[in-house]
């Protein structure tokens, strides 16, 4: 395989493992993209936090970039390490009926419901 020769050493120093500096100049994620990811992830991020976050994310993505040098044409993605067949079961209710337990940790509740800020006007 072209990617790597048998017997090649696994390299643990950051240089040889091709680990970019955590706040290096190469930026695959800019501040605008960092803002977009934060919005998708529903994590509040201030404008002041964006530059550092963009650099960290860029460095991590720079590290994983080396996967692209492997030719994976025709390789089936592996989603589960141990092959199993999903077990079926009868379509019946076999648990539940204890709203007090379910709601016991709710930050806010109203009767037997979780309470949230008003969603529909």
């Amino acid at each position: 395989m072209a990617c790597c020769t048998t017997g090649a050493a696994l390299l643990v120093s950051r240089e040889t493992f091709r680990i970019p500096p955590i706040k290096g100049p190469k930026m695959s994620v800019d501040e605008k993209m960092a803002r977009r990811i934060a919005t998708l992830a529903r994590i509040g991020v201030s404008d002041a936090q964006l530059p550092a976050l963009a650099k960290e994310l860029s460095a991590i993505l720079g590290f994983v970039e080396q996967l692209s040098e492997l030719d994976t044409t025709g390789v089936k993605p592996l989603t589960s390490a141990v092959e199993t067949t999903m077990m079926g079961r009868e379509d019946v209710i076999n648990d539940g009926g204890y709203p007090a337990d379910v709601l016991a940790n709710a930050p806010e509740r109203d009767d037997d419901y979780f309470a949230v800020p008003k969603v529909v006007e």
Binding site: V12, T16, V64, L67, M86
Partner: protein
């Protein structure tokens, strides 16, 4: 008789059955030792009253001649396992004072076998880390230290578990391993850490990090103790659809000491250019020990090894970003008020998650987002298959694989916490086992020039825990690792 807190699990079990001491005495001795060890910060919650209540129930069982496999054995439980009526936080602010109304299957199995809970153990927030420095409760300290007496990390994410077992703050502990979080902390503390095959232990009631990689296992003082613990922790569980319906063997019975003719693979790709010479020497020592015991050493190749960490740092964050979407301030845990519901989600998550968790959620969100999914996530899953196939091919030539557990011994608190990528390198030898779903064990095998413990790792075949434990037992016997950390932490 030695102190009750010096006993390993097998010794304590036998002593209880022979009525040399009671479960209450054994538990009280550990409660006192835990209470005096707050400097280590291994426990985030102590449950002495519950422990004594459970110990008394065990004494009653023993008196009736009905002792179960773990009767009266005091354990520490990683704070990732839900424990009914006992606060469970995954060491994250976002879970606040969450008190589960249910018990995880693994801990339920332990209590059904008679074990006693001493309390909840510290870990990296949501098990994301290799040093136990990302916990909301602060860093855990390794009982081991070098001549300069600097505080060292106990490894992570199961740092509370490894520190507690090394300091004898519990006879054994539960732990979880997503990229090395059982084996690396065990190596850093001179303890035994066993990650079973994916699907061997139920994940039900274990706070999820990366569901296709997470697996529960024990950290113990000895290989025999790990075998005893796994026999209780493992089960088929209809509540975890990835749990595998296979009979749980008596793992202790596998420890025959006989490995004649067993083939041990040595992967060329784990030879590191600038690996510390002590680790290189220890690896060779391990090869020699197994050869002397009658094993056959086989050179093998795992050519995609160097792509394991990059693939892991897509797959694990992707799964984490999905799993951690549940923390939204609605059903449990922390809530920070916002001007509308979206603002409430964002404010709650910003306040509740630590920096490393936020980094991983964001990397995962990016890798799963439209336009990047194929390039990152699908690509990483394809590489994952290549890594798993490396092992399949290697296991045509060998039965277990021997490697170092970590590329170094324990490092100082703060030494790597500013650089997430440097931290990720800790898992370079262990992460392949998670990606391929294989069982792995770290056995303490020696010390480095600083006098700090080093571990050797064995990786087994799928559901090959019996072979794995048998070889680990031989390594343990040959290594005669009896060193203990000097007790500098106990308050008088």
């Amino acid at each position: 008789m030695s102190k009750l807190t010096d006993l390993n699990l097998a010794e304590a079990r036998d002593g209880l059955r022979d009525k040399q001491f009671s479960a209450r005495e054994l538990t009280q001795a550990h409660i006192d030792r835990v209470a005096a060890a707050e400097k280590l910060n291994a426990y985030v919650l102590q449950t002495p009253e519950k422990a004594l209540e459970m110990a008394d129930a065990s004494d009653a069982k023993i008196a009736q001649g009905e002792a179960r496999p773990l009767e009266g054995i005091p354990l520490g439980i990683k704070d990732l396992f839900c424990t009914k009526g006992v606060r469970t936080t995954a060491c994250s602010h976002i879970l606040a004072e969450f008190t589960p109304p249910y018990e995880s299957t693994v801990t339920g199995n332990l209590w059904a076998d008679g074990a006693v809970m001493l309390g909840k153990l510290n870990n990296d927030e949501f098990a994301m880390g290799s040093s136990n420095e990302t916990s909301r409760f602060g860093a855990v300290i390794n009982p081991w230290r070098g001549a300069d007496q600097k505080h060292l990390v106990p490894g992570g994410s199961s740092g509370g578990s490894s520190s507690a077992v090394a300091a004898r703050l519990g006879i054994a502990a539960t732990a979880t391993d997503t990229g090395g979080s059982i084996r690396q902390p065990a190596a850093f503390t001179g303890t035994v850490g066993l990650k079973p095959t994916y699907g061997r232990c139920s994940r039900w009631g274990v706070v999820a990090f990366a569901s296709s990689l997470d697996q529960a296992g024990p950290i113990t003082q000895t290989v025999r103790d790990a075998a005893i613990m796994l026999s209780s922790m493992a089960s088929y569980d209809a509540k975890d659809s990835t749990s595998v319906n296979l009979t749980v063997p008596d793992y202790e019975a596998a420890l025959t000491g006989d490995i004649k003719g067993l083939r041990v693979g040595i992967p060329a790709e784990y030879r590191v250019d600038n690996m510390p010479s002590e680790i290189e020497a220890l690896w060779q020592q391990g090869i020699d020990w197994l050869t002397e015991a009658g094993a056959e050493i086989v050179d093998i190749s795992l050519p995609h090894t160097k792509y394991a960490l990059p693939a892991y740092y897509i797959i694990a964050p992707a799964e984490a970003s999905s799993n951690l979407a549940r923390y939204d301030g609605v059903r449990y845990g922390m809530r920070v008020a916002g001007k509308d519901i979206d603002d409430m989600y964002a404010s709650t998550r910003a306040a509740g998650f630590g920096d490393e968790v936020i980094r991983r959620i964001m990397i995962g969100t990016y890798a799963l987002s439209a336009g990047y999914y194929d390039a990152y996530y699908v690509k990483a899953l394809q590489v994952r298959r290549l890594i798993a196939e490396d092992f399949t091919k290697a296991y045509e030539k060998c039965d277990v694989v021997l490697t170092p557990t970590t590329p170094s011994s324990a490092f100082a608190i703060g030494e790597k916490s500013d650089d997430p990528l440097e931290m990720y390198l800790n898992d370079v030898f262990t992460v392949t086992g998670n990606l391929a779903g294989l069982p792995g064990i770290s056995v303490p095998a020696g010390v480095d020039a600083k006098g700090l413990p080093l571990g050797l790792q064995l990786i087994g075949k799928t559901f090959g825990e019996e072979d794995l434990l048998r070889v680990a037992g031989v390594l343990e016997t040959a290594a005669q690792f009896t060193a203990r950390a000097d007790d500098w932490w106990s308050a008088e």
